[in-house]
Amino acid sequence: MKYYLKLGFILLVFCVVASGILAYLNTLTAPVIAARKAKEAVETRAALIPEAEFAERTAGTGETYFVARSVSDSTEVLGYTFVAAQNGYSGVVQTMVGVDREFKVLGIKVINQSETPGLGANCTQPSFMEQFKGLSLPDLKVDKDGGKVKSLSGATITSRTIANSIAESIKAVQADLGGE
């Protein structure tokens, strides 16, 4: 009995030392990681809607989105940006989307995905993301579903996920703004 207590105690000591080191390193790296993520988000937003100032808003449903206003005239709303997310073929696909005042897509950027390399992962290629430009709500479906988004070959699920998640998010933002 005493022997087993001793074993347990030794293991405890190892774990305490290990978690102490990890906790210390976490306090060092967590702010750097958070700052980098925030900076990336700012840069992506600026690329989607240039020459704009962004103000964060939280919808009644809990989602956040950004209202882009012209730098020269802060009353002029240029558009909105938000992150659309939905489960793809293997895990969540997150897409940063910029739309204009009429909710026509200005540009999209897939910021997080873990789809199959060679198939679904091709959604990060510019040729796929470019085609979303200028589409509005009725067209935001893959061609198989009657929309104007040409699916990636062999990755209809990924393409559909991105198109549908953008459409859903646009509806959510519209609903929130309409409620004013």
Binding site: K6, L7, L11, L22, L25, V32, G118
Partner: protein, 196 residues
């Protein structure tokens, strides 16, 4: 055994993937591109080096009954350190490897070397073993990834190496391609070994 012998045995003679057949799970998963292979190889080498040093340092005070949980704690801690540091300072690499880093914990090369080597040898020899095994692992990953990336994407390290008319053989970078490539390479190595 001398230092240099311990250092070089991991490259060919005791190559962790092709000869010891350890750590196949991360091998199959990350070798879709040479960049991923290199990143995974160096990350695993770093963890292996740290864990071998610590394990050989604490071999005197670790009761043999609880040595496996102790090794796992040591390895898991270093993996978490790599994950956090990479996430903070090497974001590009972290993005493509993010999914695989936690896999290093269960990479049997690391626990295997802790158990088979570091727990029985001094720190210096354990360092040699870790570097040799780590680089051998990296080398093997690069070899497999080279075959898969050239066949499956027509590129090497991201640069196009095949003529534009070449239509990439997609299966090479999908899961079956990993098994097929590994099988052929292993057969090739066995053939060379038997001829000797």
């Amino acid at each position: 055994m001398t230092f240099s012998k311990e250092l070089t045995k991991g490259f060919i003679k005791d190559n962790p993937i092709f000869i010891l057949v350890l750590g196949l799970c991360p091998t199959l998963a990350v070798t879709t591109s040479v960049v991923n292979g290199l990143g995974m190889g160096f990350a695993a080498t770093f963890v292996l080096l740290c864990s071998n040093i610590i394990v050989s340092m604490i071999k005197g005070i670790t009761p043999s009954k609880i040595r496996i949980p102790v090794y796992i704690v040591v390895i898991a801690s270093f993996v978490t350190i790599v994950d956090m540091v990479m996430g903070a300072y090497l974001p590009g690499l972290h993005k493509s490897l993010g999914l695989f880093i936690p896999l290093i914990v269960v990479n049997c090369i690391i626990l295997g070397r802790a158990e088979a080597f570091a727990s029985k040898n001094n720190v210096l020899m354990s360092i040699a073993d870790a570097i040799g095994m780590g680089l051998g692992f990296t080398l093997s990953l690069v070899v497999i990834a080279t075959v898969r990336e050239i066949l499956g994407a027509g590129t090497w390290l991201g640069f196009r190496v095949t003529p534009l008319t070449y239509d990439p053989m997609l299966i090479a970078i999908l899961a079956p391609g990993a098994f097929i490539t590994l099988g052929f390479l292993m057969a090739l190595i066995n053939m060379v070994k038997e001829k000797k």
